[in-house]
Subunit: 251 residues, 2 copies
């Protein structure tokens, strides 16, 4: 707990928790302990009245903590996003300034394209007295390759990760330069990517996984069979352009 | 457990466990359960008679399981490496073929440049009946940025990870193209990298962390103060060439 001259009692701490990709057992002991000790448990509010992924992951581990769903809209407009992040920061600060410890549960790892990044940056900018701590989590590419039964990277492999908003030009550069490429949230651009992989004869060295480690997990391979796919939000592709087809490649 | 016509009883399973970057509490519940249920606990043998990192991480969680240290030499010679991987596979197979379940503890995430990749590939090639399972772990870049208190990637950031054996040309390409670059095992090339970062005026957007989440953790910033550094084996650098200095960058 941090104390501050403007406040009559010690401020609470905001701790971001990466709670892993979906399987509730893929939370760390450290995150679990923080979750169980917290006064307030915040998480991104789900859509359409459904609980979000982080909320579903922590559900089996919750006790009597106060729950604080925070709204992070699914939009691209920066002004709208900034406003939402600041509003979420304000709500967290209300609790911290009362001396309550708050955890924020974030699916996957909190620092890897996580919602927590935006909450923490807004809070630190607007409330410099706020103490912020972080507990890392299992991120989706690591979970995906474990489920696929393949390595992510070996020896001197160069790895590139591209998030949802990459361009085909970026993908082309990545495929030329890197040994392993991970495309996150690949659903909206899947057909385009498939065509590029076919041209480059990389379909045999590519894998798609949706909802890794969740009960709804789906694996698609070989991709030669899937020129088009309807994929959910949490879908990613692993491509190994620099490697022979596995597992014959090594040693 | 897998069964096999050549074997009088069900074969054991080899489960690779990513046990996280160093803090024993950064193991997942799933890895902990597998570890506690295993008949045999394998891990990379330490050097100079000292326990290795994976062994130190799991030490507080061990019960009466049989311990199986496996030798993975720190050499670059591929023939010597292959021989060591095959020998390790043989030792694991001896236990699997007796019906014992074996876990292999690997520091960080097991698929991300992990020793487990080589063990599993050798075992699967030489003993196709072997059943292999994987539990992902927290990898060092995620642990590092949590300790540094910065995001790894936000929004449309392109991420590049380069392992120990990168060239300066590769680093130059990465710095030009990516928004975030992670250099693993940066110790041996630190001075060269520092000069390149100075030329590109990126020292203020770069961080070094050694032994992240271990008691011996060390953070170095701003790097303008450290033109040379003696760093241990587990040292990594995070560079954000595509971003303004944090945390003012967002939103």
């Amino acid at each position: 707990m941090a104390s501050h001259p403007d406040h009559p009692f010690p401020l609470g701490t905001l701790t971001g928790l990466g709670v892993g990709p979906g399987d509730p057992d893929l939370i760390t002991l450290k995150a679990l302990k923080c979750l169980q000790k917290a006064d307030v448990v915040a998480f991104p509010q789900g859509r359409n009245g459904q609980p979000g992924l982080a909320q579903r992951i922590i559900a089996p581990h919750l006790g009597q903590q106060l729950l604080l769903p925070l709204e992070f809209p699914y939009v691209l407009d920066q002004a709208q996003l900034s406003e939402a992040w600041d509003r979420a920061g304000d709500r967290v600060w209300q609790h911290l300034s009362q001396g309550h410890n708050v955890v924020f549960a974030c699916e996957g790892d909190l620092s890897f394209y996580g919602t927590f990044n935006y909450l923490a940056l807004s809070l630190e900018r607007r409330y410099p007295a706020a103490a912020v701590d972080r507990v890392p989590g299992i991120c989706s590419p690591m979970a995906a390759v474990s489920a696929l039964g393949i390595p992510l990277t070996v020896q001197s492999d160069k790895l590139v990760v591209l998030p949802a908003l990459y361009t085909v030009a970026d993908l082309d550069t990545a495929l030329t330069w890197a040994d392993v490429v991970v495309l996150l949230k690949v659903g909206s651009v899947y057909s385009q990517v498939w065509q590029l992989l076919e041209q480059r004869q990389l379909l045999e060295q590519s894998w798609v996984i949706a909802n890794a480690t969740q009960p709804s997990q789906q694996i698609y391979r070989p991709l030669t069979r899937y020129p088009s796919l309807e994929l959910p939000y949490f879908s990613l592709m692993v491509i190994r352009p620099g490697a022979d087809p596995l597992p014959q490649a090594l040693p």
